[in-house]
Amino acid sequence: MRVYRADPLDIAFGIAALAIILGIVGFAVAGLLVAAGADASRSTASDAYTVRVVRFTLWQAGLSTLLSLAFALPLARALARRPHFAGRAWILRLFAVPLGLPAIVAALGIIAIWGRQGVVNDAYRWLGAEQPISVYGLPGILIAHVFFNMPLATRLLLAALERVPAEYWRNAAQLGLSAGTVFRLIEWPAMARVIPGIAGLVFMLCATSFTLVLLLGGGPAATTIEVAIYQALRFDFDPPRAVTLALIQIALTGALLGVLALLPRPEEGRGEGALPRRFDARSPGALAVDVLVIGLGLVFVAAPLAATLISGLAADLIALLREALVQRALVTSLLIAGAAACLSVVMAGMIARARHAAGGARRYRFAASGLRTSLAGAGLLILLVPPVVLGAGWFLVLRDHVDPFAAAPAIVVVVNALMALPFALRVLEPAYAGHMMRTERLSLSLGLSRMRRLLRVDLPALAPTVGAAFAFSMALSLGDLGAIALFGSQDLVTLPYLLLQRMGSYRTDDAAGLALILGFLCLLFMIAGTRYGGGSARER
């Protein structure tokens, strides 16, 4: 147990961070509530459109969750049964790629495979079918959500299977248990423990999905709450409807977060040591099934990525990069993402330090505990109030006083910083706590001043972690189409926004080239973050 006095400056910085976050989110929510009060007569939560949107949001999220898990279960099982084959590590790395890929880039790859002119429909027509599969509407949304979430679910289920003690597999082998019994006694109980948590997480991600639904939704029949908010503000200019939908979205995410808090949180780590050997599933039939399942999973994930790469390389990248608007979008993206990442990391650092300091407080323990909880909650507030809702709130707050588009860069930076905050915190906080455990006593015994300790001890030791948090935040912000979709204009163009414009104007070659550039940049930052941060914060 720590017995030192909490540093009041750390606590003060933490309270400042808390006030800033609450201020940003609070103003947005207050703006929504005020607007709701003023326009209450014009839109209600029970009008047919709103009900349809809410129902579709839940329906597509439920189906996406079901499908993601249905495909992930056999895939995770097959990968767990084959712990030592050449290329397995690369398949798992490939399954991490969708986590670092901007949704807009993946959507292009999915259209290339599943779209009207895509490989799947070519094969469909070759088989003699006249009516191709439509990637727009519910099928497209489901394919895209499965593309993003099936690999995540697979990795989490696989981790659960790999955490099964090696003795279980040995016991099963020794007792001569059949594959069915091994599944019933070992595999299913191991996976069943984490399935509720994974299902909750995937449902949450799909219920708050914006970019994929915006690109693949295809009309009012396939619109989710977040996309409806965007449409209400950008196209219909119907703020009351946006307010109603935003409040429903907050209530929905609040309820989902409440349920998620009750469920066991799935972890990706599997502990230390080599993978345990499996002695079951040695028959040729079992091998054939596993090869087929892994092969199908691999093709499903790899094909859109390969399509993005191939069509991107086919585009005239040099000409594209010479284009003034592309250069401006690239610089704007990097500046916004850099500023958002800086802000996110600074806030995460303030929260981590304050939470640590409050954890060691010997006096006012109740208040300290309350501060710790509040800071943890503040870091996750963006999950409750998603970027589009936050942007909508600020849009409504500002519209009566200034031109919302004039404040757009600052708002996009702040919203993106808050969006990246949970991920930056997940990287920084455990590392900071570990660092303090190792160095706090020594630093105190040496009587180092606060600044000297920060510069000579804390920053050098935590530099890789800070870098990782920055890289993750940068990648997330670079690829985001949430706030910029609301606030983007001719004066404020980022790469995702420009990509959306080029897709909208059917300049597919340009879009493919931009997608490659954007995807490459995001993956670069994500890989840097994973390398220095010891894992993907996004998964955690």
Binding site: E167, A173, Q174, L175, G176, L185
Partner: protein, 239 residues
């Protein structure tokens, strides 16, 4: 049940990563209790894994009685193994865990259920059938694993550090149980242990493993009297 002797004939094994290379011959008399001792990383667990079928030697032959088991799957070998930990499936009750040692039909039969109850009684856990592993102490869990080994009725029993997680009292109890069951069934038993008193208390022989080789394989009494084996004295801390 007649217990067989175990023969390791020119066995050679190396892990893929080259962490340990083992090359040895050994003979374990039928019906004996042998303590397998040696420093950490010396190859004791690998020797068990080779015997149980969890690893395959690159060369040589392993025989149990007259049967060459070298290429047999773990379930096909006449062996029961009790691991140091994680012997029981947490979501199954004690009876269901033990019944896994029986055939599916036998497990459902009245005779099978009686056999489970009898095995539990023999390890001193009569009436524990419906208990969950989580509600048992470490010693009780080991006893349940022993009961399953009894139900399986295999002539060779491998115990991988069965006393490691137990306090002195439970350790004593467990030793008595193993000695008692061995007396009743005359199983050829191998026990990995680090404690000389375990070997002294219940083992006829000691098989001393060092750096992947078997340096000694002798009756317990004479093994403790050996002064010429420097590694063994170092291991015991008596040098």
């Amino acid at each position: 049940m007649t217990s067989p002797a175990i023969e390791f004939d020119d066995v050679c094994f190396r892990y893929d990563r080259g962490a340990l290379e083992m090359a040895f011959d050994a003979s374990i008399p039928a019906g004996s209790i042998t303590a397998v001792m040696g420093p950490s990383g010396s190859g004791k667990s690998t020797l068990f894994a080779l015997l149980a079928g969890f690893e395959q030697p690159q060369r040589g032959e392993i025989r149990i009685g007259a049967i060459d088991v070298t290429r047999l799957a773990p379930a096909e070998r006449p062996i029961s193994v009790v691991f140091q930990d994680n012997n029981l499936f947490a979501h199954l009750d004690v009876a269901a865990n033990i019944a896994l040692g029986q055939g599916a039909r036998e497990a459902k039969s009245t005779a099978g259920k009686e056999q489970v109850s009898d095995a539990l009684a023999r390890v001193g856990l009569g009436g524990f059938e419906r208990r969950r592993p989580a509600s048992l102490s470490g010693g009780e869990r080991q006893r349940v694993a022993m009961a399953r080994a009894l139900v399986r009725a295999k002539p060779v029993l491998l115990l991988d550090e069965p006393f490691a997680a137990l306090g002195p009292g439970l350790r004593e109890e467990m030793r008595a149980l193993i000695a008692n069951l061995h007396g009743q069934n005359a199983l050829t038993t191998l026990i990995i242990t680090h404690q000389p008193e375990d070997a002294r208390a219940i083992c006829d022989r000691i098989l001393y493993v060092e750096q992947g080789s078997i340096r000694a394989n002798e009756p317990t009494q004479s093994m403790f009297e050996r002064a010429d084996l420097a590694g063994w004295r170092d291991y015991l801390g008596t040098n």
